[in-house]
């Protein structure tokens, strides 16, 4: 009986930690920095951080889908740069709205190409996206002759810098809508169930009638779409699209957010909310340490340690739930 009660408590703790572990870490970070530096807890700073988290947070949605199918994409930093330079160079001819839609279409196409290579040519995602990392970056250099494309379109700039009713950064709303749409797709539609099925056991999914290749192509295309949105936000923040400097280490930031958020690299199991909270943790942590004048090298050390700590606490969930995956 005692053993039963102990297991029950462990399981409840596991469920609690699974649901609230990351938000708890996020709240602790916010509270600690708020107490340490009065500039941190201002409305401007908090809202700015939510806005800047959109850069990683939006792309993390697409990466969550891809990783849930047991794949990943390391070409997204170069994709971000290529999409930005192409889109912003079309902008003067097409105008804001059409330019944004064309940019998203280009981004989807690049993701689609990755998906085709992975599924139809059976090239592993790592090799495909490693190759595309070089191809996309080189195309961005060739297209622009390595000269940044400056953005003057007000609509495009608004997407990254605008404030709703003069207060809420527009990227925050955009990120919220993206997460809501992704949640509906993942949890409330057949496509979401297919994604989970493919990631859990692709062979079983295929035997039960799911077109595994199409699902994989779809998630790579969706990743392209979300990278396209991040690209517009990022280039609008900067007022320019730089083929060499945009998206450097972006793939690592996004994969870090997804893994930190609790999505298993082996596929099948994933959390959109976790990816969002992880993107917020990384952004707020960087901002807080910057405000506290922490040396940039120590910032990297602290960020790395917090990530390892957060992931090990995530493993605690599996231990408490008795799933033996710790």
């Amino acid at each position: 009986m005692d053993d039963f009660r102990f297991r029950k408590v462990k399981q409840n703790l596991g469920v609690f930690w699974g649901n609230f572990g990351l938000p708890l870490i996020f709240i602790i970070i916010v509270v600690v920095f708020s107490l340490s530096n009065p500039s941190f807890a201002t409305r401007y700073n908090i809202l700015s951080n939510f806005g800047f988290a959109a850069y990683v947070g939006i792309a993390a949605i697409g990466m969550t889908f891809v990783i849930m199918t047991g794949n990943f994409d390391i070409s997204i930093g170069s994709m971000l740069a290529l999409v930005a330079v192409l889109g912003s160079s079309f902008m003067p001819k097409t105008g804001g709205v059409i330019g944004v839609l064309a940019t998203l279409a280009i981004a989807c196409s690049l993701g689609f190409i990755n998906g085709i290579f992975v599924t139809k040519l059976r090239i592993p995602a790592f090799i495909t996206t490693l190759g595309m990392l070089f191809v996309f970056r080189a195309l961005a250099f060739i297209y622009t002759n390595n000269v940044p494309v400056y953005i003057s379109d007000r609509f495009w700039l608004y997407i990254g810098n605008g404030k709703l009713f003069g207060v809420i950064p527009f990227p925050v709303l955009l990120m919220g809508i993206c997460y809501l749409a992704a949640y509906l797709v993942l949890r409330k539609s057949p496509v979401g169930r297919y994604i989970i099925a493919v990631g859990t056991n692709a062979r079983a999914a295929a035997l039960s009638g799911i077109n595994v290749d199409n699902i994989k192509i779809l998630v790579f295309t969706l990743l392209g779409l979300f990278v396209g949105i991040s690209s517009i936000v990022n280039s609008a923040n900067q007022g320019a699209a730089n083929p060499g400097l945009m998206g450097q280490n972006f793939e690592f930031q996004v994969i870090t957010a997804v893994v930190l958020g609790g999505t298993a690299l082996s596929g099948g199991n994933g959390s959109l909310g976790g990816s969002l909270i992880a993107a917020l943790i990384v952004t707020f942590l960087g901002n807080g340490m910057g405000l506290m004048q922490v040396n940039s090298y120590w910032q990297l050390v602290a960020t790395g340690l917090v990530m390892i700590f957060a992931v090990s606490l995530n493993k605690l969930k599996f231990y408490l739930l008795g799933q033996g995956e710790y």
């Binding site: 401007y44 700073n45 800047f52 810098n161 923040n237 900067q238 901002n287 004048q293």
Partner: protein, 338 residues
Amino acid sequence: MRYAKIAFIAVVCLVLILTVSFLGCKKEAAVEGGGMAVTTYANASDITIGFSLWTMQFTFFQNVEKGVKDACEDLGFKYVMIDQNSDATKMVQDINSLVGQKVSGIVVTPVDPGAIGPAVENARQNGIPVVCADIGKSGPINALMISDNFKGGQLAAEFLASKLNDTTKPLGLGNLLPQWTYARQRGEGFLAKALELGYDVAANIIVQNPSAEGGFDTMQQILSAVPDVAGVYFCSGREAVGAAQAIQASGKDILSVGYNGDPEEFQAIKDGVLNATILQEPYFIGYRSVEILAEILLEGKFYENVEVPVDVKLVTPENMDAIAAEILKKTGNSAFPE
């Protein structure tokens, strides 16, 4: 079907919100006669200067930072520094963070000058003047402190010409990436002066990897393209040192000139590997940037898109020791690696 309806309503709401708020967005507030509205201060102790720096990894930027910090101390200002870690996205976030901290003025040494436009605009809309300490700018700014790069290139060409004294000998140029609009003037000055003096710059190759290794590789490309090259000029310090090592490895007698005046370059000149370099004054650039902000914030002086050229000097084995002593006296830093 239910979710399609929800998605449709969400999209309609987004379009409405976007339209309403986009129509309401404002452009940068301008004062009569152009420029921006600046808050002036009566006491220096009320002023905080925020500094956003490319990176603390390189000596050049360490000296810019020292100049900014020393000026703040000398003028009685409070000082906040944030390192961009060579990341343009972080740079934008940092500048916005400084605005959030309500600093009085901002000095920025941008990793990507093309990417500071909206962040600087936001600072200026909040009444915070911005001075760029070197590298470059995009969009309106109060002032830009920038080395006289064109003159630096000319000095390099003059030095090589004076040593070679033979216009039939070809020259080589290790150029910078096109995105560095202002720094590219180092190459333009060199090409213009070489042409004027009757020399042929037979190889003009961009260093794709801005590092000592990149300089080494590019020098090898120059040697392949122009085997009888007699003198080369590289537009950045680390690349120049790498190129000088490639020359040494080739066993050829080729003159080499660098740009920046980094400690590695001083050491290479001392070791006889590099023949000369063009010295920039990062400490002065940082110090003067804060002085300009002081003029704006304390005296209400008008600065709008003002470019302040900073002089450059030729460093050779003959004047190296005197210049090193001068740097030590001015900045407290040795010109040589410590």
